[in-house]
Symmetry: C2
Subunit: 318 residues, 2 copies
C-alpha cells in the first residue's frame, strides 16, 4: 500500500485513476481546484474510505505543501483541459501547466517525496513527420500553447531527475475518451446535436485523424507503467494501435444518437483551429511489449464513449 497524491484527481482522467488506485489497495489524497473536475466523479472513491479530497490550487505552494506530507508518489494530472483556449488566452497553459508543474516538483523536493508520474500528451510531438510516432521522436515542436506547457513540464521533470535525484514516469497520452468526459470532440458533437438534431457542424474538413484511448484503459496503463518501468526517467506513449477520423466520429455519434437525418457540415481547412494537430498516431509498442493490452481500440472506444456521454449529457434540450 502506498500513499498517493493525485493532482487533478476530481477531473475526467484523474477520477478514473483514483478509482483504479483504490482498487489496487492504495491510500489516495485527491487535490483539485474543481475548475473542471467535479465532486460527483469521486462518489465511489470517497465512500470507499481510502481517499480524502482537498480542494486547493497548485499555484498556491503553501496549500500544496500541506498535502505533501508522507506521500510516496505523486500522479500529476492537473492542467487546463481545453487545448483551444490558448488561441484566445495565452497565459492559462503557462500558469496551470508549466508553473503548476514547477510548484508540484518544488513542493515534493521540500517535503522529501521524489517519485512523480506525469500526464503529458502526444501534442509534444507537434506535427510529427513519422507516424506512428515512437517515444524517441525528435524534434519536439508543439504547435499549441497547451503542447508548449506539456513540453515545458516534461523538461522541468527531467531536470529534477537529473539535478535532485527524482524518479519519473512520463505518459504521452493519445486522445483520452470515456465516461465523465468534460470536453473534446465527442462531447462537443453531442452538445451540438442536443441543440440541433438535424445539423452537425464539424470543425475542419473532417479528415483529422488521431489515436483514441478509453479512459479506464488509460488509468490502468498509467499504474502498469509505474509498476513495470524502473529507469530514473521513464516515458511511454499511451494509446491504442489504430486511429479514427473526425468524420467517422461524427458518423458514430449520429448513429448512436438514433437521430435519423443529420446533415454534416464541414467548416473546412485541414485542422479544427490554429494549433490543432491534424494527424496524430502514437506508436504504442513500448507499452504493449511491457505486457499491457487495451480493452478498446480507437473506434470501439469512440462508440462506447458516444453511448456513455449521450447517457450522461442527454440528447433532449434542457
Amino acid at each position: 500500500m502506498s500513499r498517493v497524491l493525485v493532482t487533478g484527481g476530481a477531473g475526467f482522467i484523474g477520477s478514473h485513476l483514483v478509482d483504479q488506485l483504490i482498487e489496487k489497495g492504495n491510500q489516495v489524497v485527491i487535490f483539485d481546484n474543481l475548475s473542471s473536475g467535479k465532486l460527483e466523479f469521486l462518489q465511489s472513491a470517497l465512500s470507499s474510505g481510502n481517499a480524502t479530497f482537498v480542494e486547493g490550487d497548485l499555484l498556491n505552494l503553501e496549500s500544496l505543501n500541506k498535502v505533501m506530507k508522507n506521500i510516496d508518489i505523486v500522479y500529476h494530472l492537473a492542467a487546463n483541459p481545453d487545448i483551444r483556449l490558448g488561441t484566445r488566452v495565452t497565459d492559462t497553459d503557462l500558469k496551470q501547466g508549466t508553473f503548476a508543474t514547477y510548484n508540484v516538483l518544488e513542493s515534493m523536493r521540500i517535503n522529501g517525496c521524489n517519485k512523480i508520474a506525469f500526464a503529458s500528451s502526444s501534442v509534444v510531438y507537434g506535427e510529427a513527420k513519422l507516424m506512428p510516432t515512437p517515444e524517441d521522436y525528435g524534434p519536439l515542436f508543439p504547435i499549441s500553447l497547451y503542447g508548449a506547457s506539456k513540453l515545458g513540464s516534461e523538461g522541468l521533470i527531467s531536470a529534477w531527475v537529473g539535478t535532485f535525484g527524482f524518479k519519473a514516469w512520463i505518459f504521452r497520452f493519445a486522445n483520452i475518451i470515456g465516461s465523465r468526459g468534460t470536453h473534446g470532440v465527442i462531447f462537443d458533437f453531442i452538445h451540438k446535436l442536443k441543440k440541433d438534431a438535424s445539423n452537425l457542424e464539424v470543425l475542419g474538413n473532417g479528415l483529422q485523424e488521431k489515436s483514441y484511448m478509453e479512459v479506464v484503459d488509460c488509468s490502468k496503463a498509467m499504474i502498469h507503467v509505474v509498476e513495470r518501468f524502473n529507469d530514473d526517467l521513464n516515458y511511454v506513449n499511451l494509446g491504442s494501435l489504430d486511429t479514427c477520423s473526425v468524420t467517422r466520429i461524427a458518423e458514430i455519434v449520429i448513429e448512436r444518437s438514433g437521430f435519423g437525418d443529420v446533415n454534416i457540415h464541414f467548416t473546412g481547412g485541414d485542422r479544427g483551429w490554429a494549433g490543432d494537430v491534424p494527424k496524430a498516431m502514437l506508436d504504442p509498442t513500448k507499452l504493449n511489449v511491457s505486457g499491457f493490452k487495451c480493452d478498446y481500440q480507437s473506434e470501439d472506444a469512440v462508440r462506447l464513449t458516444a453511448d456513455i456521454l449521450i447517457q450522461e449529457i442527454g440528447l433532449l434540450e434542457d
Copy 2:
C-alpha cells in the same frame, strides 16, 4: 536595414551580436537589466549612432511593450547565464528563462512583430545517446534547470509559430567562449589561478568533453542562419566540428598564464555538478552545409579565449 531588438544585448554573447548587427547596417535596440551584462561591452555599439540602450527587465511586460514598437525582428538572448545556480535556487531559470520568453512572445504578438531568433542551447539534448548530436535528435530530456528553461522556451516559440503565424530561428549553442566572458570554465580557472598560482581545482574528473565555439563566430553564425533559413520554424546547432576536454582546457589556461608549476586537482566524479552534462558534441552539418565556416575550432577558441580573458581579468590578485 532592419530595426532589431536584442534582449540581453549588453551581455557576453548579446554585445558581440549587437556589434555584428551594426556592422551589417541594422538599427539596434538593446534591452538588458544589466544583471550580468555591462554597459562597457556596448562602447563601440553606442558610439556608432546605430544603437540605443534601454535598461529594463523582461519580467516587466509594460517596459518591454515600450521598446517593441516598429521592431522587425527580435533576437532573444537574455537569460540567467549561470547553469550551476539551478542546483541551489530553483525558480531563477523558470522566471528569467521560460517566463521571460513568454513575455517576449506576448509583447511581440501585441505589438505586431512576428519574427524571433532565440538563443537555445545544446543542453536541451540532455545526456544524448547519439554524438555528434543532430538537430532532430530525441528524446529531449535536459538534466539542468537551465536546460528545462531552454526547452520550455523552445516549446513556447514553436507554439507561437503554430498558433499565431510567427516565424522563428532557434539556435542550439555549443559552449560559447571569447572576450567579455562573464562565466564558464575558462573564466573560473583564471580566477582560481589569480587566487592561487600553484594549485588549480577542476570540478569532476576532467574527462568532461564539449564543443566550444568562439563568440564572434557564434554572432556571425546567428545572423547567417536568419538570412539563409526560411522555414516558418528553423532550428540549427551552432558549434564547431570538434570537442575539448576540461583537463585540456586546464592545461591550456595554465600554459597561457605563464605560471610555471601548477598542480591540477580533480574533485572527482564524471561531472562538475548535478545537472552538468559530461559530454556534449553537436553535429554542425546543417550550419556548415548552409555555407557557414567557423574561424576557430574548439581548441583554438579555448586558446584565444584564455589569452583574452587573462588580459581582461588579469592574473595578479587585486
